[in-house]
């Protein structure tokens, strides 16, 4: 007991409020400086007439929001953001779901395949996107070369992947999918391996074929983890501007302009800080909703 006593005391010391605060501090500091301050600044700017290069700053109320809502490029960007997010997520869920089924059972070279699939996630977005910019280039596109070689297109009448509105949107969506699929696949693989193997076996004995087992047993059991993958993916997609910015910079004719890229174009490139801040604030309600759903799901997963 004599030896034990000082130990107990030191545990008491570890629980002192000061140490707790010191341990907690860096996290709070990080959130306040990197997320909190810019957010407050953005809200502040959105109600002002801040411009790059102008020293005067006045409170203008909802003026910025009113003018944004009336601007056609904002409405296009909002629509594009929704199309971009919904399409990308739909493709990502189907592809990563399929991949997770394919990668579940061991086969020769599975480790290598898993590594290759993970690569796009590990590589920097900007590098990947620049690579894709070349792949989709109007003159040097390897895709076009291959399609011409296969006689799908005449050499003088090739598609302009990033130069025609619908094609450009499709290209941006597909490149974004290329980037998100690895993450989603890893999450789904984790979800699949969490299903005890007796359950699909029981389904097989009960008479269920592949599709019935997939849709009535495996997918419902994976639903919580699929939701996590989709919500994360939605956040990544809705707030992403790297892919759009590097591939098309929002063009042609705003056809790939999304809310983040429009905010950047207006606020930073167009010097209208106030308008840019106001545009980016439109992302908040959507993200708050997603955050709420995620917290609710995390809570439900704990209860189950």
């Amino acid at each position: 007991m004599a030896i034990g006593a000082p130990k107990i005391k030191s545990i008491g010391a570890a629980q002192s409020p000061l140490l707790g605060a010191a341990m907690f501090g860096p996290a709070v500091l990080y959130i306040v400086l990197v997320i909190g301050a810019p957010f407050v600044l953005a809200v502040f700017y959105a109600f002002s007439d801040a411009r790059i290069g102008s020293s005067g700053l006045h409170f203008v109320g909802l003026e910025n929001f009113r003018s944004i809502l009336q601007s056609p490029s904002f409405r296009t960007a909002l629509k594009n953001s929704i199309v971009f997010t919904v399409c990308a997520q739909a493709i990502v869920v189907v592809c990563s779901g399929t991949l997770s089924i394919a990668l579940e059972k061991p086969f020769r070279g599975r480790g290598l395949v898993r590594f290759l699939i993970l690569l796009p996630w590990v590589a920097p977005v900007s590098l990947g996107s620049i690579g894709w910019k070349w792949i989709l280039d109007s003159i040097y596109s390897v895709i076009t070369w291959v399609l011409v070689w296969l006689h799908f297109f005449k050499p003088y009448n090739t598609p302009m992947w990033l130069g025609e509105p619908h094609l450009a949107m499709a290209s941006v969506i597909l490149v974004h999918c290329w980037r998100l699929i690895p993450f989603s696949t890893v999450v789904m693989l984790a979800g699949r391996t969490a299903i005890p193997k007796e359950i699909p076996e029981a389904a097989a004995i009960d008479g269920a074929g592949f599709w019935r087992t997939l849709f009535q047993i495996n997918l419902p059991m994976m639903l919580p983890i699929i939701n996590v993958a989709v919500l994360f993916g939605t956040i990544f997609t809705f707030t992403d501007m790297t892919v759009v910015y590097i591939l098309t910079a929002g063009g042609p004719f705003d056809s790939t302009q999304t809310l983040p890229s429009l905010a950047f174009a207006t606020g930073i490139q167009g010097s209208d800080l106030a308008a840019g801040a106001a545009i980016s604030l439109f992302l908040v309600p959507v993200l708050v909703l997603i955050a709420y759903l995620m917290l609710r799901m995390a809570h439900r997963a704990e209860v189950v």
Partner: protein, 345 residues
């Protein structure tokens, strides 16, 4: 109903290694309750999974109802299986769990409700139909798993250690319930367990397996009284059979046949038994100690005696085994051999 038969059934998981199941030949009888008994790793579950179609045999044939089913998917074998973990579908209600096989096998929808209710009432779970599996106790889950198995009226039941997740008290009542259930349904049933008491109590016949090989295939009485080799002799019975080497044979006798010499007036073999430990179990004593004198000096043996006489640890008694209860095994093959006259001193 159907008969299950295996012919030279073998499963090798990794080439070059010893098989998990080796050359197993079995044939059930119509409506029989057959038990696969063995320690863990004996291949009993692998054997069951091959019959179910969840595992591909490396060699040999499986026949259900005189038809080779090796190439058939599990769902085409007309079998039902209850897993050790029950494998209930956690996101479906009890009703939907039981109805799943009907849906999957495209039974007419009008019949679902009637059949589910029939299965549920048979197992006394009619009041639980709206619950989710996580809201059920272990015993209730087992019944749901059984109800899901019988609802489609399979020709063979496969049960993989269905009682091992229940606590001791529940296990006994669940065992009786299973026995009654089998008598009522009369479907050929194969039951896997590592618990010899379950095997003895429930099995019409027992297949004793070790390292993928069938050591003995017979009724509980045959397996216990006339064990085919030393493995069976020591695996069944608690405490296990005493084995002592004598010349080129191993002689075995059950602890309950090892008694005070003066109480036996028949042909017997006597030993000096030095008792080292006495366990009082209420209805009986378990004495452990060693033999004294002669060739068997120091050999450890166990005796199981009914109450009536008090035994002191540290005391030496004159004990004996009736000759008719001695079992003889070949020393090199460990297989059972004919009884023979031996010198004992």
């Amino acid at each position: 109903m159907a008969v299950v038969e295996t012919r030279n059934l073998t499963k090798v998981f990794k080439q070059g290694e010893l098989g998990a199941v080796n050359n197993v030949n079995l044939k059930t009888r119509e409506g029989e309750f057959l038990v696969f008994l063995g320690p863990s790793g004996s291949g009993k579950t692998t054997l069951l999974r091959m019959i179910a179609g969840l595992e591909m045999p490396t060699a040999g044939e499986i026949l259900i109802g005189d038809q080779v089913v090796n190439h058939l998917a599990p769902r085409e074998r007309r079998i039902a299986m209850v897993f050790q973990s029950y494998a209930l579908y956690p996101h479906l209600s009890v009703y939907k769990n039981i109805a799943f096989p009907l849906k999957a096998q495209k039974v007419k929808k009008e019949l679902h409700k009637e059949k589910v209710e029939w299965a549920a009432s048979l197992l006394g779970i009619s009041s639980l139909l709206h619950r989710k599996p996580r809201e059920l106790s272990g015993g209730e889950r087992q019944r749901v798993a059984l109800a899901r198995a019988i609802v489609r009226e399979p020709s063979v039941f496969l049960l993989d250690e269905p009682l091992s997740n229940l606590d001791a008290k529940l296990r006994l009542s669940a065992r009786e319930e299973l026995e009654r259930f089998h008598r009522r349904i009369g479907t050929t049933t194969i039951y896997v367990t590592h618990d010899q008491v379950e095997a003895m109590a429930m099995g019409d016949r027992i297949v004793v397996l070790n390292k993928g090989v069938v050591h003995h295939f017979g009724t509980p009485k045959e397996v216990y009284d006339e064990p085919a080799d030393t493995f069976v002799a020591t695996f069944l019975g608690s405490p296990p059979m005493n084995l002592i080497e004598n010349g080129d044979v191993i002689v075995g006798f059950r602890p309950e046949h090892f008694r005070l010499s003066e109480t036996l007036d028949e042909a017997k073999v006597t030993f000096k038994f030095h008792v080292e430990n006495v366990e009082y179990l209420g209805a009986e004593y378990i004495l452990s100690g060693s033999l004294l004198g002669g060739r068997f000096e120091g050999k450890e043996v166990i005796a199981r005696l009914l109450l009536g006489h008090a035994y002191e640890p540290g005391t030496t008694y004159e004990f004996a085994v009736p000759e008719r209860h001695l079992k003889f095994f070949d020393r090199s093959t460990e297989k059972r051999v004919e009884a023979r006259a031996l010198t004992w001193q």
